[in-house]
């Protein structure tokens, strides 16, 4: 028989919902409570009545009384303390198990240093849901239970364990220590008073334990917002605000002095991150709570100082005694990662209602039945070989092997085709994106496209190594294509052979092969996204049912696709136009104006949002509409309309014409289908015709003045995906239809389709295995600029190179700025300068007597003729004046341009030119005599030359270069003002965040979550 005396204190606040069970549980304790008192803090429900009915003495207090104050009042009313007296603190929403008190007392019996013990807390509704087995606090203020989300209680944590603190719900506290420590801190009116008390208990040299034999069921009514938080200190009656505020208070009041700065930073940082998270979950109230909680502490430092002083008075050991109970950052990170992973898994796998509640489990056999079944059922195990009978697995293995063969020349950093070499790290891409001025050619202020930061962000996968990311992307691209198209077609058909075959054909379709082989990252991304778009596009007709969130998410996806494949916008424009015409016909037929308006609004948003989400890049495209037809990266020609018509874009790395894919025949047959395939094929056929027509046009840009046939990759990609979709729609269950009918045209068309597809699969696979390694995209392509020119980062070098375009020799040039072309450079490359073009022509045909002067005027220091060279070009340049041979190596021949040339050229009153020399200060140059300073960069209003704090007058020279009139000798500072770019980027980020905010899944306030879900 225990010698302890137990005084129970039940704090009640609008707890009528749970109170009957709580009272009953107290009454049924196997070890009777010696004394009980209830404190009602102004309940407005029937709580007081219920307590009265249970004959529990009630102490009534104001409604805004805090928990600590309520308990303190109750203790005051108790009879004088006796030896071995314990206080059992109870909440009105916490029902202890009948054996709880016995178990708690038994545990403290032989542990004299334990002054605080708590039960295992389980959920009120789901009584297998483990809520707490002791609590602690993380350094970012989070309440730490050490448990997984919704952890199921299987006794895995059972036993008696030392803890930092236990919840006040069901906590057994030795009365003398409670009084000695001053009870609960009344500044913590609700929440975290338990942790604070536990911390103080430890600091006073005592211990706290959790006793899992003692069980209590806790509804957590205040924390889950089942009732209002009316305590005085609860600003705006917001539980989260109070919780966060108290968490920070506990940490700052109890931690050692030297930890305070770090804790403050951590608290503020984590509050900020959580606030952002809440904003994305569209819970601005919670976000405000996070910020206000920290802010309110800052404005009341006096309370903290007093609290620290009070704790110092009762502290016998260092506050660091609790360090073993504070979760390490590693544990916190691991838990955060586990939770994020679980959330991601749930998001991707989307557990269905069926999977959550498998009804078959409700009818589980008994143990004896199971044993009997075990005896009767022969033991069967599934063989591994059965895995290889699954078409999906077989196709994947085949594709992986094919991809490895295909990519045998792509191990390492890849470039070639339209893909420029990648920069060394993601940082370079970020700098490129934010930079207002690009050192490409004579300089460019063009806006960087959105795909640059997307790739930079994606390179986190490879720890910021962009080239590794790009290489992996191209190696894995066929597998990605297979998976994305399989995701699409499996929604149409259950026939695994058809879906897998269709997905496989998509992965090795002519457009896929062409895009991968020629390094067209944009088209490959489009090919991966397109199947997902098709799934959405099928609901396109009833777009009025799209929620704001869906529209926003779709807008982001469209913007992403647009940024990687600008031509996609043209397809989107055409499809939107067609849909609007259809809507208009519906309007004329049904006269449903609201429906028409809803569709019009949504379609308009989806059309405009890709432009809005990619500003200012999209504005530049709108200003030069031909850029809508240019793929990202370096320009590379297609092969004209006839190849495009058979869904092969042609060009470098593409399949030869005689490898005819089934795309065209599928679309043709599907146009006669009676299923939905016909509608899809109509769209696909139209896109293929548009692609065919587009392929006839030539286009320039992206740093090239040579016309190239347009690459109809986007139209062909979309036509291909529609063909795959149509084929699966048609072939699904076709076998049954064919069997049930006499031989007709369907039999022939299906046979033709299968034969062409099989033939294409075999021949294209053979081509890939034998020829594709010679495609433009390869690794280890070397470098254009030799090292001795690459170190001249401040010099411009005119690179001349003879290239073979097909079998035709071609002589090309471009201005290098100390490096080869890099990812994104072509997208911001400035247009050709006519004066330089004339000078280079003179260089080649020997007529350029003044070429060197022109080059010098534009700051071109070197001419580099890349080896191998043919013809008499070397002799011609040698023969022209103004060039001095600087070197001739196996890499090529370098001539130095005569005269003063460089970045800033000073022309004095006599017309003599000299190069401005930099001073030791960054971007500062010394002007030796008054004159005109010419900056050899493309003219831009953002260039400024500052002397003595004054901006010098800027004019545009005859060569369209910025010129500044310098009146006096002295240092000048060269500045490029990037404010405009920063403004655009800010606007871009804001628009992007708004769409992400709307597209993100909405969070719910805890009070909106049902009891069942909480359980």
């Amino acid at each position: 028989m225990s010698l302890h005396r137990v005084s129970a204190i039940l704090v009640v606040h609008d707890g009528a919902t749970w109170l009957p069970e709580v009272v009953a549980s107290l009454a049924s304790q196997t070890r009777a409570i010696d004394h009980i008192v209830a404190v009602d803090t102004g309940s407005i429900d029937s709580s007081a009545k219920l307590l009265k009915g249970a004959r529990i003495p009630v102490l009534t207090m104001p409604r805004d009384t805090g928990f600590g104050a309520a308990v303190a009042s109750a203790v005051e009313k108790l009879p004088p303390a006796s030896a071995g007296e314990w206080l059992w603190i109870l909440h009105d929403d916490c029902a202890p198990d009948p054996k709880a008190l016995v178990a708690l007392l038994a545990a403290v019996e032989d542990r004299p240093n334990v002054v605080l013990a708590g039960p295992k807390l389980l959920g009120w509704h789901d009584r297998t849901h483990l809520l707490e087995i002791g609590i602690s606090i993380a350094t970012n203020g989070a309440r730490w239970t050490g448990l997984e989300e919704s952890e199921y209680d299987q006794g895995q944590h059972d036993g008696i364990a030392n803890v930092l603190a236990v919840s006040t719900a069901g906590a057994l506290i030795r009365r003398d220590v409670f009084e000695e420590l001053g009870g609960f801190d009344q500044n913590l009116e609700l929440f975290r008073d338990d942790v604070d008390f536990g911390w103080r208990v430890h600091a006073a040299g005592h211990s706290a334990i959790v006793v899992t034999d003692a069980i209590a069921y806790h509804a957590q009514a205040s924390a889950t917002e089942r009732r209002d938080v009316d305590v005085k200190g609860a600003l705006l009656k917001r539980p989260l605000l109070l919780d966060r505020q108290n968490a920070a208070y506990v940490l700052l009041a109890n931690a050692t002095w030297w930890l305070l700065p770090l804790l403050t930073v951590q608290l503020f940082g984590s509050a900020l991150i959580r606030a952002v998270g809440y904003l994305f979950a569209k819970l601005p109230g919670y976000a405000a709570d996070e910020i206000l909680a920290i802010g309110s502490l800052v404005v009341k430092p006096g309370e903290l100082l007093k609290a620290r002083k009070d704790r110092k008075a009762t502290r016998l050991v260092s506050a660091r005694v609790v360090s073993d109970f504070i979760p390490s950052r590693g544990r916190q990170l691991r838990l955060a990662f586990d939770r994020a992973f679980a959330a991601l898994r749930d998001f991707i796998l989307k557990p269905t209602e069926q999977s959550i509640l498998d009804e078959s489990l409700l009818d589980l056999p008994t143990e004896s039945e199971l044993e009997e079944e075990d005896l009767l059922t022969p033991v069967t195990t599934r063989k591994w070989s059965s895995l290889f009978r699954k078409p999906f697995v077989v196709a994947m293995i085949f594709l992986v092997v094919l991809t490895l063969i295909w990519s045998r020349n792509r191990i390492g950093a890849v470039s070639g085709g339209t893909l420029a070499p990648s920069p060394s790290g993601a940082r370079d891409l970020w700098e490129f994106y934010f930079s207002p001025w690009h050192q490409v050619g004579l300089g460019s202020k063009s806006a960087s496209p959105l795909w640059i930061p997307v790739i930079a962000l994606a390179s986190l996968i490879t720890l910021g190594n962009v080239s590794a990311l790009i290489s992996l992307f191209f190696i894995a691209a066929p597998v990605f294509l297979f998976l994305s198209s399989h995701h699409m077609v499996k929604q149409v058909s259950d026939n695994r052979f058809i879906t897998v075959s269709a997905a496989l054909l998509y992965a090795i379709s002519p457009i896929s092969i062409s895009a991968i082989n020629s390094g067209r990252i944009g088209i490959v991304v489009l090919l991966i996204i397109a199947p997902f778009l098709v799934v959405t596009a099928l609901q396109w007709r009833e777009i009025e049912s799209f929620s704001v969130r869906k529209i926003s998410a779709l807008s982001l996806l469209l913007a992403l696709t647009f940024s990687f494949a600008p031509t996609f916008f043209i397809a989107l424009l055409i499809l939107t136009g067609a849909a609007l015409v259809s809507d208009f016909l519906d309007l004329r037929r049904d006269s449903n104006q609201p429906l028409f308006n809803a569709r019009l609004f949504r379609r308009s948003v989806l059309l405009i949002s890709p432009l809005a989400l990619t500003i200012p890049w999209s504005l530049e495209i709108i200003r030069s509409p031909h850029k809508f037809f240019l793929d990202i990266g370096l320009i590379s020609a297609g092969a004209g309309p006839n190849l495009a018509f058979i869904a092969n874009p042609g060009g470098a790395g593409s399949l030869p014409w005689w490898l005819i894919s089934p795309v065209l025949i599928v679309l043709a047959i599907a146009l006669f289908s009676i299923t939905q395939a016909r509608q899809v094929a109509t769209i696909g056929g139209a896109l293929l015709c548009i692609g065919t027509f587009a392929a006839t046009f030539t286009i320039t840009g992206k740093g090239t003045s040579t016309p190239n046939y347009m690459y109809s990759g986007v139209f062909i990609a979309l036509a291909t995906v529609t063909a795959v979709y149509s084929a699966v729609l048609m072939l699904d269950k076709v076998r049954e239809r064919l069997i049930s009918t006499h031989i007709n045209y369907r039999h022939f068309s299906v046979s033709a389709l299968i034969v062409v597809s099989a033939l294409y699969a075999v021949t294209s696979t053979g081509w890939i295995a034998t020829q594709a390694d010679n495609s433009p995209l390869q690794s280890s392509q070397g470098e254009v600029l030799p090292p001795y020119l690459a170190i001249e980062t401040q010099s411009k070098t005119l690179v001349l190179r003879e290239r073979l375009v097909g079998t035709t020799p071609s002589l090309n040039y471009y201005i290098a700025r100390g490096s080869d072309v890099s990812l994104g450079d072509a997208d911001v490359a400035p247009s050709e300068v006519p004066e330089i073009a004339t000078a280079v022509t003179g260089l080649a045909d020997g007529s350029g007597i003044t070429s060197s002067k022109t080059f010098a005027s534009y700051g071109i220091t070197y001419i580099f003729l890349k080896a191998p060279t043919q013809g008499t070009l070397v002799q011609t340049i040698d023969g022209l004046g103004g060039f001095t041979r600087a070197s001739s190596t196996s890499a090529g021949i370098v001539w130095k341009v005569s005269g003063a040339t460089g970045n800033l050229i000073l022309t004095d009153a006599s017309g003599k030119t000299s190069l401005l020399q930099p001073t030791s200060v960054a971007d500062e140059y010394m002007v030796t005599t008054p004159g005109v300073v010419t900056l050899t960069e493309t003219y831009s209003g953002s260039w400024h030359l500052v002397q003595n704090g004054q901006r010098l007058t800027r004019i545009k020279s005859e060569l369209s270069l910025p010129q500044f009139s310098v009146e006096a000798a002295g240092p000048v500072l060269l500045i490029h003002d990037g404010s405009v770019r920063r403004g655009w980027v800010s606007l871009h980020v804001i628009v992007l965040l708004v769409f992400i905010l709307f597209a993100a899944p909405s969070g719910r306030r805890k009070r909106e979550i049902s009891e069942k879900e909480l359980a």
Partner: protein, 433 residues
């Protein structure tokens, strides 16, 4: 209607393909600039005189070494060459140079465009040698030239010459490989617009042994045609010839020489399957039993070779010698001949050459020459240009000129060939490895 849909589909597809193919424009990735590079004529050494036959009085010319780069009209059809090399803008006409040391020797060569490789088989560097190698840099940048020298002793280390922009340099042959009797030279510019000319003048004491301008040959080949070798008689005795030959590779060459004359083609005794040591300049005496005439040599080899023929001459009571060098296969081109009246010699199995001769009085005369083996044609005295309109395949040509001062030869090849320069276009792809 049952067939409406198929018809519509077929119609759309057909229209798409037809319109696409009709609207498709041809794309070219390269443009060309075609021109004839200006030609360079050798300087006239002191004590000599030379004249260049130019096609027109409006032919542009400028003297090397002057600052100006402008061409001025020659205002004459026979330009007296100054002591500095001259650059002529002759377009598609070839201008020959006739150089003489009055009463001592004469020689001919062609004003030619700069070359990246020139071979000279001729000259000597022994005590009799008074020959000179003239190297001209007509470019406006400095030039570096490698001069590779072969002799009867083998190859010597190349001599590297640096020439300033718009300048020339003269090297005495006896300084290149002192003591060598037989030399062959290869001029290989590393940079610059380089022309080289070789004068082989010989004397013993005060006695002149004659001289000639050795024409440049193209790179070594396995088949060489020397189209015109004058075969003369003096004092009732036919004068013998010397075939100088070099196989510049590392392996000995096995040669076979066929002689084409008006009496037919034959292989002289000892000239079939003959070994020529690699890297050694070899001379073989050639004394064909022929009446005085002109013959041609066709040399076949299993290794690339260069060769020429040294022939003593006696014309208009004047002894001289001439170096007949190899020529490449003839193509239609135009030759200025003002004041020269050369004898044109064509060699080949079946010769058919159509000529258009423009006289100084602007009258044009067309001549067709047909024959087998070897055919000659004497250009009229008043001819201004000879335009080779039509030339049969596998036909080679040379021109021989005889004057009181001596005898000269030049091959019938264009001095400046049409050059197609690729016009560059801007393309950032050049920076993509």
């Amino acid at each position: 209607m049952k067939f409406k849909r198929p018809l519509v589909i077929v119609g759309i597809v057909t229209a798409t393909l037809v319109v696409s193919n009709l609207t498709q424009v041809a794309v070219t990735n390269s443009g060309f600039s075609e021109n004839y590079p200006p030609v360079v004529c050798p300087a006239t050494p002191s004590g000599e005189s030379s004249a260049v036959s130019v096609p027109s009085t409006q032919t542009g010319s400028r003297v090397l070494g002057k600052k100006t780069t402008l061409f001025k009209p020659t205002r004459t059809l026979r330009l007296m060459q100054s002591s500095a090399p001259t650059i002529l803008d002759t377009k598609n006409l070839t201008a020959p140079v006739w150089q003489i040391k009055r009463g001592v020797w004469a020689g001919a060569t062609l004003c030619s465009a700069p070359s990246i490789s020139q071979w000279f088989v001729g000259g000597a560097a022994d005590v009799t040698s008074k020959g000179k190698l003239l190297i001209i840099n007509s470019g406006l940048s400095d030039a570096i030239v490698d001069v590779e020298i072969w002799s009867e002793s083998g190859i010597r280390p190349p001599k590297v010459l640096t020439l300033k922009a718009n300048s020339s340099v003269v090297q005495n042959l006896d300084s290149l490989d002192p003591g060598s009797k037989r030399i062959a030279l290869h001029i290989a510019p590393r940079s610059g617009r380089i022309n080289a000319f070789l004068v082989d003048e010989r004397g013993r004491g005060l006695q002149s042994l004659g001289g000639d301008m050795v024409n440049a040959s193209s790179d070594p080949t396995k088949e060489i045609v020397i189209p015109a070798v004058p075969h003369m008689k003096r004092s009732g005795r036919t004068l013998g010839h010397t075939l100088r030959i070099l196989a510049p590779g590392d392996v000995d060459a096995r040669i076979s020489v066929q002689l084409n004359s008006t009496k037919g083609s034959f292989i002289p005794v000892g000239f079939d399957d003959r070994i020529v040591k690699a890297g050694i300049v070899t001379e073989i005496a050639l004394n064909p039993q022929l009446v005085p005439s002109i013959f041609a040599l066709k040399i076949s080899s299993d290794r690339p070779i260069v060769a020429s023929v040294y022939s003593p001459t006696y014309a208009q009571s004047k002894s001289d010698f001439v170096w007949s060098t190899s020529a490449t296969e003839m193509k239609p081109y135009s030759l200025a001949v003002s004041g020269l009246a050369p004898q044109l010699v064509f060699s080949g199995e079946k010769i058919s050459v159509g000529l258009s001769i423009l006289s100084t009085n602007r009258k044009e005369k067309k001549v067709t020459i047909n024959g087998e083996g070897i055919v000659t044609f004497k250009v009229p005295e008043n001819a201004r240009t000879v335009n080779f309109i039509k030339v049969s395949g596998d036909t080679y040509g040379g021109a021989l000129i005889a004057t009181q001062s001596g005898y000269g030869f030049f091959p019938l090849i264009p001095g400046s060939e049409l050059t197609r320069a690729l016009l560059p276009t801007a393309n950032i792809r050049v920076l993509n490895p």
